[in-house]
Symmetry: C2
Subunit: 342 residues, 2 copies
DNA sequence: CTGTTAGCGCTTTCAT
DNA sequence: ATGAAAGCGCTAACAG
């Protein structure tokens, strides 16, 4: 509709003030005291013209663009990223900022280009997010640029925001113990590789560590540990079948994520066992899946949105933190009950 | 690392050329003929300084920011949006653009603010995306701003990119017919409201229309139509149970989306029926879910990534289109077979 | 109390 | 063949 955008000059002209005066008044600069009349005229003119400052032009002077770069390895692609982004978007909006979203697929080449692209646009700060928490390499950056790692960490650079997996792991075990499960708990999804490789997967290793520490604290050991290479439903299905083929009768399955649990549900159904009457299931992540399952899956949630939110707050506030851990809330549904005495 | 960013002036100084010359050379302006030597010196200097143009400053002069605004009602939030965004990101990157992602939650107030925010940053164009395809209201925009609607349409404004639901609906029916299903097909998820309300749901209405037209073309009618208010697993489960409680024995279920199919699978399992041996299932969307199900669900996919890609291509190319329809590919898995002769 | 002036980094006439 | 100068829209010293 409106042909051209009104500029500060237009406002000044219409109000009969200088450009400077208009600028000061519209920015509500505190010290300067221009007449009340001047204020009114300028504000009225701005209003009438529908004036909005040109952020790019302003940024040229002030070095603030009210824009933050969100660079992720696999963004949009996964349900994983969604919450992270949503949280970041919310916090950014609340702070009057806007976010530039870039995806790199984890490719160093594209990563470098993404960084260049956001830097070219003078972003106020950059968030690096990864889908599988990991140690992320960050190339040289202009020293001034604020950086926070989201679901990732970095030795040198920056602050990072991570889920509190250690506590989450402990919480999951407690969930089962509280209901009376003790010796009949099977762990589904154990994976030596992951447990050792703190580099590749900062958080998942902690999840398992939390689980083991809580078991130990209660003098418990797993009746069985089924290992799974890929944490997908298929693996959960097979691992659970294997468990029963060995004629073991667990009272509860502690699945390392919801997709595994999904597969476990299927195996249980084929086994003629009901959740939670015959066997309880606890899990992690709170995937969309968890709500769809029947009965609903009780799971320790990955707090994606909270993480995204916290990341931009951190970036904008410039508090100095190293690693901020976000609590993993438990989402109670119907998959856990008192062990049956089969 | 690097303290300050190199500017064009720095390049000029180091190369011993004027700023003008440097600008022209680096932009590869065609007509001007500066000496080969000048070219070499400028390029070398730029290289040495790691010079990158400041996009904001350039935009101030050229009115091109190589940035596009992606405004969505429910972005990040849904698996739905992910593909749209991913596709858009890819195409933008390929074209040397970058995307500003904003979410409005469908709230007109926030919608207006989002538009203002991207306009303030001089974006080259705006994509409006919705999760449930619908008619979207777009407030007045500067006439110059390019606009495309993604998974939405708008009477006045813009070009829109939509899935070809009509063809998709027909395709799904063909899938069943090809395998020999005829009189035993039940439709799960019928919803008068949606079928009538072309305004609220441009595409889903077309999906159903396509289905009905293909059935009619083959002189077929559904053995039953189960209506569902909310297209979630719960509804699919109940509708399917209801079907069997009436003692009907369909040879195939045509589910209006994958979440419904998910519920249907559960009901089928409880009924002691196997997919696809006892009853076949066909569906729509190609949700993440569809791959997890056992057996894998054959479904007519919503081509989210292709849509996102096409939207930015359209935006950037400024071809004049009204409505571009993206083909819905069928994803064959294992849920359809020849009808059993129970 | 208010306006002039000088840039931010870049592109683009227009002279030379 | 090359450069000076103006100006995109804005803010910030510095004078009046």
């Amino acid at each position: 509709m409106s042909g051209k955008r009104a500029t500060l000059a237009d406002v000044a002209r219409l109000s009969g003030m200088s450009i400077t005066a208009a600028s000061m008044i519209l920015n509500g600069r505190p010290d300067t005291r221009l007449s009340q009349d001047a204020h009114d005229r300028v504000n009225a003119a701005a209003q009438a013209l529908g004036y909005r400052p040109n952020v790019a032009a302003r940024g040229l002077r002030t070095d603030k663009t009210l824009t933050i770069g969100f660079i992720s390895d696999l963004v949009a692609t996964t349900r994983f990223a969604s919450g992270l982004i949503k949280g970041a978007l919310e916090a950014a909006e609340a702070a009057g900022h806007v976010v530039l979203l870039l995806e790199t697929g984890g490719d160093p080449q594209r990563e470098a280009e993404a960084i260049a692209a956001v830097l070219d646009r003078q972003v106020d700060g950059i968030i690096f997010a990864t889908m599988r928490a990991r140690e992320l390499f960050v190339p040289e950056l202009p020293s001034a640029t604020a950086v926070v790692m989201l679901n990732a960490s970095n030795r040198l650079h920056a602050m990072s925001v991570l889920p509190d997996e250690e506590a989450g792991g402990r919480r999951a075990v407690q969930l089962l113990i509280e209901r009376g499960h003790r010796d009949g708990i099977a762990l589904i999804g154990q994976n030596d590789e992951v447990e050792r490789d703190k580099f590749r997967s900062v958080t998942v290793a902690r999840r398992v560590a939390g689980i083991r520490s809580e078991m130990a604290k209660n003098d418990l050991t797993f009746m069985s540990e089924e290992s799974i290479w890929l944490w997908e439903p298929e693996g959960g299905y097979k691992a659970t079948r294997a468990l029963f083929r060995r004629n073991q009768a667990p009272s509860a399955l502690l699945c390392l994520n919801d997709r595994i649990a999904f597969g476990a549900y299927q195996a249980l159904a084929e086994e003629g066992l009901r959740v939670p009457t015959d066997v309880s299931v606890a899990s992690f992540d709170n995937d969309e899946l968890a709500a769809y399952l029947r009965p609903g899956l009780t799971t320790v949630a990955l707090p994606h949105e909270a993480m995204g939110r916290r990341a931009v707050e951190l970036l904008l506030s410039q508090e100095a933190q190293r690693e901020v851990l976000i609590e993993m809330p438990v989402v109670e549904r119907e998959s856990i009950s008192v062990p049956s005495s089969r």
